[in-house]
Amino acid sequence: MAVVTYRDALTQALREELQRDDRVFLMGEEVAQYNGAYKVSKGLLDEFGQMRIVDTPITELGFAGVGVGAAMVGLRPIVEFMTWNFALLAIDEVVNAAAKMLYMSGGQYKMPMVFRGPNGSALQLSAQHSQAWESWYAHIPGLKVCTPGTPADAKGLLKSAIRDDNPVVFLEGEMLYNTKGEVPDGDHIVPLGVADLKREGDHCSVITHGKMVLVAMKVADDLAKEGINIDVVDLRTVRPIDVEAIARSVQKTNRAVVLEEGWEICGMGSQVVDFIQRECFDDLDAPVLRVHQEDVPMPYAKNLERGAKPDAGKAIAAIKKVMYLD
């Protein structure tokens, strides 16, 4: 098993799927000549040529729609958004076209396509460039939504997403591209809709996804030193969502904290808490708590940004609270 970066794992997935199926192509801003704004598509133009690695103008709505049309007639587009913040300009094509085409055509037109790009905050990019969008897309029937937190999951989920016959919103962690991890050799596939128990413990469940997986792992390490052992349930995909995995963990630990990068109101955590109260009502020993971004646009100043983001300290405080240790 090789140790690779999250970025290289994504590139491997793209390369392997482009090699596997000539209906697959990648389009987006700066994906070809420039090798990708975040270098995820590095080297692909040279290998696959300009028909399959397609630079677009800055026209998110336009090229997202091009992807939809191409998918309707037999291609398997991968549409890269330079960041998901810019994809708001294209949301009509994602939500009104891609997500509904199969249904409103009575099953006649599949949408085998992937919309992908970096999601969430980075460092001091301030309000318009620091947003986590998963709950927006997870709300929409017809879409699948992936939020990989590790290189292995990034590769395995992206390969599954490209092979899926449905529109998949693939949210990469902008701060994860340089992180490293072991990635299984060969045709590594992670199925959509299956959570992964990243750490096992009996005292509390931390349910999370995306970039927050790394935070949860650090929390698990820190708390282990205090003799507190937590389950880290990495959802990996937030639609479909693995309710059974959530329930299994909470039924074991009887306590849960939901950790996410986005905002509180109608966030992913709201949905997870709803599943927990329905599936695990009699198992709970404490109210479920949530850790998320503060309910403000992302500020620029370092200290304010730190204050706005969810982090290990906030997660540890929440875990101790549900364990009545504070």
Binding site: V66, V73, L102, G106
Partner: protein
């Protein structure tokens, strides 16, 4: 390996001159020539749309059709003329005023009416309704409800044709109100930049819902938008099915041989309200204006041409009309007798089973 950006599907084509408006004086393309037999087919196609939609209005009043229902009456020369110039393996995509285009394309009248009635036998299984007529058998890619939203999708179909090295084309219909929306501009830019075989057809019926073009569009000459994107453009009388065909002959040839898109304005007029919920006149347009435009009923114009040429008698006209009425009645009867979709279908077609 070339790494030229911005123009992946082909190398840059030779520069074209300014878009020309050659609808009136260019020689008629041989492809657009008609025979008496074909003219009869065109008349039949237009009459079928008219009689079918008259029954739609009736069914709507009776509550058999619900939701939004936008009738095409008055614009039939466009759908008939365009569809008569393209091949079965070409693609068609349109907005929500889609019944007439679907009929002209050859989507089954029964399947369309059943869709409008919300029945299981509808072309979209009763899940789409009036605004979402889809039919994979005839490459009819819908029926889309967001103004302008499907215009980039048409560019994507053109992209796929180019990608697969096909020589089909995609025809994309939308109203003149869509020319002010961003999706239209983004799609035109991409289609011209990448040289995609798409014919973009503005059906200019002069009103976006109840807003006249003079109140919505800074430059009413909508063809300037073609020039803005180095695209050929042409404006024709959309009430004249022969003019529509001649214009399409040029656009089709450009798409197939030069792999270039065209923007076409077809000037028309809708004889009914925007949808079933508004009157044909009285608020945003006058009765006089409506009546004046109804003198140029596209069916009447074609009928008169054929009658004057001595190739159609009134008796034959009645026969064609009766056939159209019978097809519409048959579609009604079929739809009315069809079952509603079973409740289990509520949950199907949300996701496709992935087998690839």
């Amino acid at each position: 390996m070339s790494t030229e950006a911005k123009r992946p599907p082909t190398q840059k084509g030779k520069e074209k001159g300014a878009p020309k408006n050659n609808g009136a004086d260019a020689p008629a393309n041989d492809l657009a020539a008609t025979t008496p037999e074909l003219r009869r087919e065109l008349l039949h196609s237009m009459l079928l749309q008219r009689r079918f939609e008259e029954r739609c209005a009736e069914a709507y009043a009776l509550g058999k059709i619900g939701g939004f229902c936008h009738l095409y009456i008055g614009q039939e020369a466009i759908s008939t003329g365009v569809m008569s110039m393209i091949r079965p393996d070409d693609y068609v995509i349109t907005a929500y005023r889609d019944h007439g285009q679907a009929l002209a394309r050859g989507v089954g009248p029964r399947a369309i009416m059943a869709e409008l009635f919300g029945r299981e036998t509808g072309c979209s299984g009763g899940k789409g309704g009036s605004m979402h007529i889809f039919d994979a058998k005839t490459n009819f890619l819908g029926g889309h409800g967001i103004v302008g939203g499907h215009v980039p999708v048409a560019a994507g179909v053109g992209f796929a044709i180019k990608y697969k090295r096909g020589n089909q084309l995609c025809v994309c219909f939308f109203g003149e109100a869509a020319v002010n929306i961003g999706a239209f501009h983004e799609a035109l830019n991409l289609a011209s930049l990448w040289e995609l075989p798409v014919v973009f057809i503005i059906e200019n019926n002069r009103y976006g819902m109840g807003t006249a073009i003079s109140r919505s569009t800074a430059n009413e000459d909508v063809l300037v938008r073609a020039k803005g994107y180095r695209m050929e453009g042409e404006s024709v009388d959309g009430q004249d099915v022969f003019a529509v065909r001649e214009c399409m002959a040029r656009a089709v040839e450009r798409a197939r041989k030069e792999k270039r898109p065209t923007l076409v304005e077809m000037r028309t007029y809708r004889f009914m309200g925007h949808s079933m919920s508004d009157a044909a006149s009285g608020t945003y347009r006058t009765k006089d204006e409506l009546e004046e435009n109804m003198k140029r009923d596209p069916i009447l114009l074609l009928h008169n041409r054929m009658f004057e040429a001595g190739e159609l008698t009134e008796g034959e006209m009645h026969k064609i009309d009766d056939e159209a009425k019978a097809i519409a009645q048959d579609a009604w009867d079929f739809a009315d007798a069809s079952p509603e979709p079973p409740i289990e279908k509520l949950y199907t077609d949300v996701y496709a089973d992935t087998s690839s």
